[in-house]
Symmetry: C5
Subunit: 351 residues, 5 copies
Amino acid sequence: MGIEQDLERKKGLPPGSLVYVGDEVASSTKISVIDYIGDDLVEKELDKIQDVYPYTKTNSVTWVNIEGLNDIDVFKEIRDEFGIHPLLIEDILNTEHRPKINILNDYVVMILKMVWFNKEEVEIEEEQISVIIKDQTIFTIQEKEGDVLDSVRKAIRQNLGKIRNMSAGYLVYSILDAIVDQYLFESERISSDIEQLEEDMVIDPDQTVLQQIYHYKNIGMHLRKLVWPVKEIIGGLEKSKVIDMNTGFYLKDVSDHIIHVMDTVEMTRSMAANLLDVYFSSVSNKMNEVMKVLTIVSTIFIPLTFIAGIYGMNFAHMPELDEAWAYPVVWGIMIAMTLGMILFFKRKKWF
Amino acid sequence: MGIEQDLERKKGLPPGSLVYVGDEVASSTKISVIDYIGDDLVEKELDKIQDVYPYTKTNSVTWVNIEGLNDIDVFKEIRDEFGIHPLLIEDILNTEHRPKINILNDYVVMILKMVWFNKEEVEIEEEQISVIIKDQTIFTIQEKEGDVLDSVRKAIRQNLGKIRNMSAGYLVYSILDAIVDQYLFESERISSDIEQLEEDMVIDPDQTVLQQIYHYKNIGMHLRKLVWPVKEIIGGLEKSKVIDMNTGFYLKDVSDHIIHVMDTVEMTRSMAANLLDVYFSSVSNKMNEVMKVLTIVSTIFIPLTFIAGIYGMNFAHMPELDEAWAYPVVWGIMIAMTLGMILFFKRKKWF
Amino acid sequence: MGIEQDLERKKGLPPGSLVYVGDEVASSTKISVIDYIGDDLVEKELDKIQDVYPYTKTNSVTWVNIEGLNDIDVFKEIRDEFGIHPLLIEDILNTEHRPKINILNDYVVMILKMVWFNKEEVEIEEEQISVIIKDQTIFTIQEKEGDVLDSVRKAIRQNLGKIRNMSAGYLVYSILDAIVDQYLFESERISSDIEQLEEDMVIDPDQTVLQQIYHYKNIGMHLRKLVWPVKEIIGGLEKSKVIDMNTGFYLKDVSDHIIHVMDTVEMTRSMAANLLDVYFSSVSNKMNEVMKVLTIVSTIFIPLTFIAGIYGMNFAHMPELDEAWAYPVVWGIMIAMTLGMILFFKRKKWF
Amino acid sequence: MGIEQDLERKKGLPPGSLVYVGDEVASSTKISVIDYIGDDLVEKELDKIQDVYPYTKTNSVTWVNIEGLNDIDVFKEIRDEFGIHPLLIEDILNTEHRPKINILNDYVVMILKMVWFNKEEVEIEEEQISVIIKDQTIFTIQEKEGDVLDSVRKAIRQNLGKIRNMSAGYLVYSILDAIVDQYLFESERISSDIEQLEEDMVIDPDQTVLQQIYHYKNIGMHLRKLVWPVKEIIGGLEKSKVIDMNTGFYLKDVSDHIIHVMDTVEMTRSMAANLLDVYFSSVSNKMNEVMKVLTIVSTIFIPLTFIAGIYGMNFAHMPELDEAWAYPVVWGIMIAMTLGMILFFKRKKWF
Amino acid sequence: MGIEQDLERKKGLPPGSLVYVGDEVASSTKISVIDYIGDDLVEKELDKIQDVYPYTKTNSVTWVNIEGLNDIDVFKEIRDEFGIHPLLIEDILNTEHRPKINILNDYVVMILKMVWFNKEEVEIEEEQISVIIKDQTIFTIQEKEGDVLDSVRKAIRQNLGKIRNMSAGYLVYSILDAIVDQYLFESERISSDIEQLEEDMVIDPDQTVLQQIYHYKNIGMHLRKLVWPVKEIIGGLEKSKVIDMNTGFYLKDVSDHIIHVMDTVEMTRSMAANLLDVYFSSVSNKMNEVMKVLTIVSTIFIPLTFIAGIYGMNFAHMPELDEAWAYPVVWGIMIAMTLGMILFFKRKKWF
Ligand SMILES: [Mg+2]
Ligand SMILES: [Mg+2]
Ligand SMILES: [Mg+2]
Ligand SMILES: [Mg+2]
Ligand SMILES: [Mg+2]
Ligand SMILES: [Mg+2]
Ligand SMILES: [Mg+2]
Ligand SMILES: [Mg+2]
Ligand SMILES: [Mg+2]
Ligand SMILES: [Mg+2]
Ligand SMILES: [Mg+2]
Ligand SMILES: [Mg+2]
Ligand SMILES: [Mg+2]
Ligand SMILES: [Mg+2]
Ligand SMILES: [Mg+2]
Ligand SMILES: [Mg+2]
Ligand SMILES: [Mg+2]
Ligand SMILES: [Mg+2]
Ligand SMILES: [Mg+2]
Ligand SMILES: [Mg+2]
Ligand SMILES: [Mg+2]
Ligand SMILES: [Mg+2]
Ligand SMILES: [Mg+2]
Ligand SMILES: [Mg+2]
Ligand SMILES: [Mg+2]
Ligand SMILES: [Mg+2]
Ligand SMILES: [Mg+2]
Ligand SMILES: [Mg+2]
Ligand SMILES: [Mg+2]
Ligand SMILES: [Mg+2]
Ligand SMILES: [Mg+2]
C-alpha cells in the first residue's frame, strides 16, 4: 500500500524528478569513504558528500558508501558532480526497482538487492544496493545501515588476498561476490528448511505443514525474482569497458554461483510442488480410513439393529416370540451375520 | 457480441475501408492542439482538423489530441494530408486492435491501451490510444474523453523538467512513460488485492474467495495481453529513425517499467494458482472434519443402540431380563464400549 | 478412419503419385475464371482447364477457381502446363495436409484451411484451399463449392477499393485477408461462447457444462493447429520474390490479425482451464454441503434414538421406568442434548 | 533389464569395441542387394558381405540390405572396406540408440526407428534401421527381417515413378518417405483410438478406460521420442553434400509429414489430459450421487425412527400412550416431517 | 546443514581463499600417476605431488589421479607449479560445485559428478571429479577413493583399443565416456525401477507406492541437475584448442549418450507424473466403493428398522397389532422394499 501511494505521488511529476520511493524512513544519510592503493589506506566517516571529491580525483581506489536515501541533496550533488543521468538517480532512489545495469560511455550504474532470511518471521528481507562505477571511484548506495560487505572491508583493512593491489574493477567484483555469496547461503537454508518440511510431512501431514509449503513456494518465487536479473547484469558488466581489468574470469565465478542459486531455488519449487501432491494424497487416504471405520461399524450393526427391531414389535401373533429356542437362534444369526461381514471386509482388504 | 457484429459488417468490405469498430458511442470528435518550443506555448481547442495544419508546418513540437472516433471525415483528412496508409487508419479506428507499432519511411504509428482498474466492478477497463509520429507533429487518437496524460500536459504548461526544450521524440517518450506508469500502478494494486485475498483465505476459505481468485486470474491474463506487446513496441521505436533524439536511454527506462509490470503480473498469477491449491486443501480438510464427527458419533452410538435393541426384544424366554443385576451390567458394558471407542479415536488422533 | 484407409492405399505408391486423399466426394470438378486489369473484367465458368490458358497468357490478373478434387486429369494438366512439381500437386490433393508454403523459382504454392463454426453440431468445420501463384495467374483449389471469398469477388466486380488497379500479389493478399477475417470472426465467437459458459457455470455447475468446456478446449486446440502455421506462411510470402508489389505492409496487417486470433484462442484455453478448477471446487462444495446435512441429522438423532432404545428395554428391574418424573426428565435430557449439538454446529459454522 | 545387462557388459570395454546391444536374437545375418541404373536391374541374396563389392564399384545405385546384427564380422568388414568409423559401427549395433545423423567427409550415417502398432498388445513396436550413404551405395542395416520398405522395392522393380532414373540420394529420400509414412499411419491410428476412448468415456467412465488413457499417453510419449529427432536428421541431410541431387525439395516433403505426425501426437496428448479431467469429474459426480442417496434416506428415516423409539419406551407414566388419537397423530407428524424433508431436498435440487 | 556451516565459514574470507567445502573427511590425500606413450607405460603411487613433475615434462601422456581433498598444500603446489587460477582451485575444493568448464589460454578445468545408485538407501550418490588438462598432463581430482574409471585404466594397461597411441585429448574423452556410461547405466536402472512401480501400482496402489513415486521424481530431478550441464561442458570442450586431436567426433558420441540420459530422465518424470494421476484416481475409486457399501446397507436397513420401530411402539390403540395377518404382511412389505432397493441399485449399476 505504501508503494501504491508512492507511485500515485510520482505519477504527477515529469520523468527524472528525484523522489524517494520506499518504506524505509532512515533518520539521516550517512556517508563513509575507504580509499586505498597498495599499502596506503584511508578510512573515514564524512559529514557531507563534497568531502569525498579530493579522494575521487586521485589514482587510488575510492569506495564511497552511502546509507539512507532521505537526503535528496546528496544525490543531486552526485548527479551534477559526476554527471550521472537524472533518470538513473531516480531509479536509485526507487527502492522497489528491479535489479538492472545501465552501461554508459564513462560510467556504469547497477541496482541490486541484498537479501537476508528473517528467521522469526520466516520471510526474505531485501535491501536495495545501487553501485555507481566511474573511473577508480565506486559508490554503493543503500537504503539503511548494515550490509553484507563486511568481508570486503576486512580484506581491504587487513590486506587479505590481492584487493589492495588491484583496481576498482576488482572491488566491484568483490562486492558482487559478497552479495551473491549471501544469496547462496540463504537459498541453501531455504532448501534445507523444505527438506525438513518433507520429513515433518511424512510424520504428521496437517494443514500447518501445507501452509508452510505454500509460504516457502512464495519465498522461492520472491528470491527468484531478485536473483534472476543478476545473471544478465553480470553479462552486461563483462561487455562494458568501464572496468579495466581482466574481470571476465572473476565475473564467471560469480555467474557460476548465481546459476547454483537458481538451481537450488528451482529444486526447492519442484520439491514443494511434489510435497503438495503427497499432502493431498495423505488427506485422501485419511478420509478413506475414516470412511472405512464408519462403513464397517454401520454395515455390521445397522442390519443387526433391524433384526432386534423386528422382535421388539408388539404384534399379538408372532409365534417365534414364544419359542424357547428363538432367542438363542436370533443371537446365532446375528453372530453369523457379523462374521460374514468381517470376512467380506477382510477379503476387500479393509482391515 | 458487439465485436462479432462489427466484424460481420466489415467482412463484406475491401481492405482499407474506414469503419469504426468498437463499443463506445461518443457524441462527437473533439480536437485540441498543444504547440510549444522553448518559452513559446499555444494551447487550443479546434473546430476542425484543418485548423491544425498551420501548427504542423512550423518547427515547434505540435501535439494534436483527438478524442472520439465517430467522425470518419477527420481521419480521412489525416490520411490524405499526412499520407498515412489507409490500412493504418483502419487499425486506429478498430478499438479492439492489438497493441503494435508500424514504422514507415517518414512516419510511425503506434497502437496502445490505457488501463484503469474499476474498483466498483473489480474489472480492468481499457481505452485504445493511437500515436502518429511525423516530424515534429504527434497525434494522439483516443476512443473518448479522459486519459492518463495530464502529468505530461502539466509538465508542458508549467515548464517542468526539460520537455519544453526537447523535440517531439521526448514528447512521445513522456506519453509512453505516463501510460506505462499507470500499468505499474494498476498492477501493484492487483498484487496487493491478491495479497489481501490470501489473508482472507486463511481466516475463512469459502466459495466467494475462490471466485475472486478466479476473477483476479482472468484480470491478470487480460492485463498481460495488453502489456506484453509494449516491450516489442519500444524495441521497434528504438530502431526507428523517425525519433531524432537519443531516446534509447529514455526508452530503456520505460522498458524497465514494463518488465516490472510483467514480473508483478506473473507473480500475481503464481500466487493465485497457489491460493487455489490452498483452497482445495482447506475444502478437503473441512470435509475430513465433518466426516470425523459423523463417524465418531455413529461408531459410538450405533453399537449401543443395537444392544438396547436386543433387550427391547419381546421373546418370552430371555433369562437375562429377569435378573436384577442385568440392567446395571448392560449399562456397564455400554460405558466400557464407549470408553474403548474414545480411546481408539484418541490413538488415531481424531480428536 | 477414412484417413487411415486413404493412407494405407497411398503407402504402396511411389512418391508423387496423384491420389485424392479426403472425405469429400464432390460430384464434379468446377472451374471458373475471373480476369481483370483496370476497367476490363471477364468472369466465366469453364468446361475444361485448357480453356483457361488464353487468359493466363495475357497481362491481366487471372484468378482461376477450382472446386472439387475428383477429376485428377485437371491437376495433371496444371502440373504439366504450368510446371508445378508433382509432390506439390500430391499435397494439394491431400485435403488433410498441414497448412504450408512452398516457394520455388518461378511459382509459389500455399495450402490453407478455411474454417466455419457449425452452430448445430458445435464444431469447427474446415475446408482446404490451395493457392498457386505464377506470374499474374492465381489458382485457388478447393475441396467443394462455397468459400469465404465472396467479399473479394464483390470488390473485383464492383471495382471497390484499389484491387482492379493492382497486380496479382494484391489479389493473393485479399484472399488471405478474407480467410483470416473468418478466423477472427470464429475465434471471437468461441470466446464469447465460453464467456457464456462461465456465466452458466456460476448459476448451475453441472456435468453438461463440464462437457461443453471440454469440447470447447478441443475446438480451441483444433483451431490453433490450423491457424498457427499461417504466421509462418505469411513470413515465407514476404521473403518470396514471386509477388512483385510492396506486399510487406499488407501482409503485416494480415499477420496482426493472425496474432489476434492466436491471443483469443490462448485466452479461451486459459479461461476453460480456470473454469474446470471452478467446476471441481463447486462439486467439492456441494459434496461438503450434502455431508453436513447427513452429519447434522445423524449426530443429533442417533444419540437420541439410543436413549429411547435404553428405555425400550424390557428388563424386569429398571427402577426409573416406574417413576412419574422419569418420562419428562428423559425428554428434558433429549432437548438439552439437541440444543447442545445445535450450539456445537453453530460454533463450527456448519449452518 | 536386458539393456542394463548389455550396458554393464559394455562398461568394461574401450570405446569403439563392437558389441551387439539389443533384445533380438536373430538366427543369422541376411544380406541382399538391389543394383539399378535406368533399365538395368539386378536383385540378389548374398552369402557374404564381400560379394557386394563388385556392385559398389560401378556407377549404378547399389542398395545393400542387412537383416540381423549377430554376425559381427560383417560389420567389421564394412568398417574396414568402406572406412566407416568404429564408433559409428558401435552405434549401429546398439539397437537402443537414439535416432541421429553423422555427416562425415565422404559418407553419412543415419540411425532411425521403424514403428508398428501392435494391435494385440496395444503397444508401439520399434525396430532400428541404420542407413549408411557412401557415393552411390546405400546400406540399410536392420535388427531382423521385415520392414516398411516394400513400396520402395516395388517402385524399383516395376519402374514406378522416376526412382530408376535418379541417383542414390533419391533412394535415400524414398526410404525416409516410406518410414515416415508409417509414422503418419500409426499416429493417425492412435489418434482415432483415443477419439474412440473419448466416446467410451462419455458412455461409461470406469477404471479400465482410465488405464487405457494412461497407456495411450505413454505410447504418445514413446512415439514422440522416436519421431522428434527425425526432423533434425532431415535438417542435417539437407546440409550435407554427400547427397548430390536437388533433394532439398523432397526432404521438405518428408519434413512436412514429420510435423504432421508431431501435431497429431501432441493433439493426442492434450486430448488424453483432457479426458483425465473428465474422468476425475465423473468419479466425483458419481460419489456425489451416492452420497445424496445415503443422505436423503438417512435424513428422512433416522428422525422418524427416533420418534418411533420414543413411543417404544416402557415408562409407566406416558399419558399419550393411552389416548386413542395418539397413534394416528404420530403417523401424521411422521408424514408431515417426511414431506417437509422431501420439500427441503427438492428446493436444494437434490432430486 | 554441513553446507550452510561451510558457506558461513567461507563468507568471511576473500575470494580465492582455499578452503575445503564438503561432507567427506578422507583420512589422507592419495596421489598416483599413469604415464604412457606407445608401448611405454609407468604406473606408480606417489608420496608427494612434487614427484609427478618429472613425468609432466616429457612427451608421454601423464594421468595424475588425486583422491581426497584434505591436504590443501597439494593444491597450492598444483596452483603454483602449473599456473592454475586460485579461483579454480577454490572451485575444485568445493565439492558442492555445479558441473562446469573453464577454458583458459593454456589449460582447461572441468568439474563433473560421478554418480552411483545406492540400492539400499534408494538414493543417487554423487562424487565430484575435477579434470585439469594442461598439455599432455591430465589431473583427475576426486573427493575420495573409488571411481568409475577402471575401464580406462584397464584399456591403458592392457593396451586395448588405440588409447596408448593417442594423445592426452583421447584420455580426456575416455574419462568422459566412462563417467557418462555410468549415467546411462543408472538412468536405465531408474527407468526400469519406475516401470516396476507401475506394475506394483496396478496390483495394489497404496501410500507406500506413492511415496516411492515421489522419491523417484526427486531422484530424477537430482540426476537431471548433474547431467544437464555436461552437454554444455562438451560443447565448450569442442571449441577449446587445448585438446589437439580431432576430438569433435568422439565428443559427439559422448554428447549422444548425454541426450539419451536426458531423454530417459524426462520419460521417467512424465511416467511418474502419470502414475500419480492413476494413484489418485484409484484412491477415489476405492472411496467410491466404500461409500457404495455404506449407502446400500444403510438405505436398505434404515427404512426397515423404522417400520420395525413403528410396531414396537406401545400405544394402547394400535388396531393392526392385534390382527393375525399383520405380522406376515409387515414382513411382506419389508421384503418388497428390500427388493425394490436392490432393483434401484442394480439399475444404477452400483453392483
Ligand atoms: Mg517516471
Ligand atoms: Mg526509471
Ligand atoms: Mg523494498
Ligand atoms: Mg526496504
Ligand atoms: Mg544497508
Ligand atoms: Mg562467491
Ligand atoms: Mg481487413
Ligand atoms: Mg489492420
Ligand atoms: Mg475495447
Ligand atoms: Mg472501449
Ligand atoms: Mg480518452
Ligand atoms: Mg516511468
Ligand atoms: Mg477429492
Ligand atoms: Mg508419399
Ligand atoms: Mg507431400
Ligand atoms: Mg478435412
Ligand atoms: Mg472436408
Ligand atoms: Mg469450397
Ligand atoms: Mg483482415
Ligand atoms: Mg562408448
Ligand atoms: Mg556411440
Ligand atoms: Mg529396441
Ligand atoms: Mg527390438
Ligand atoms: Mg527389419
Ligand atoms: Mg511421404
Ligand atoms: Mg568466492
Ligand atoms: Mg568459484
Ligand atoms: Mg557432495
Ligand atoms: Mg560427497
Ligand atoms: Mg573417488
Ligand atoms: Mg560412452
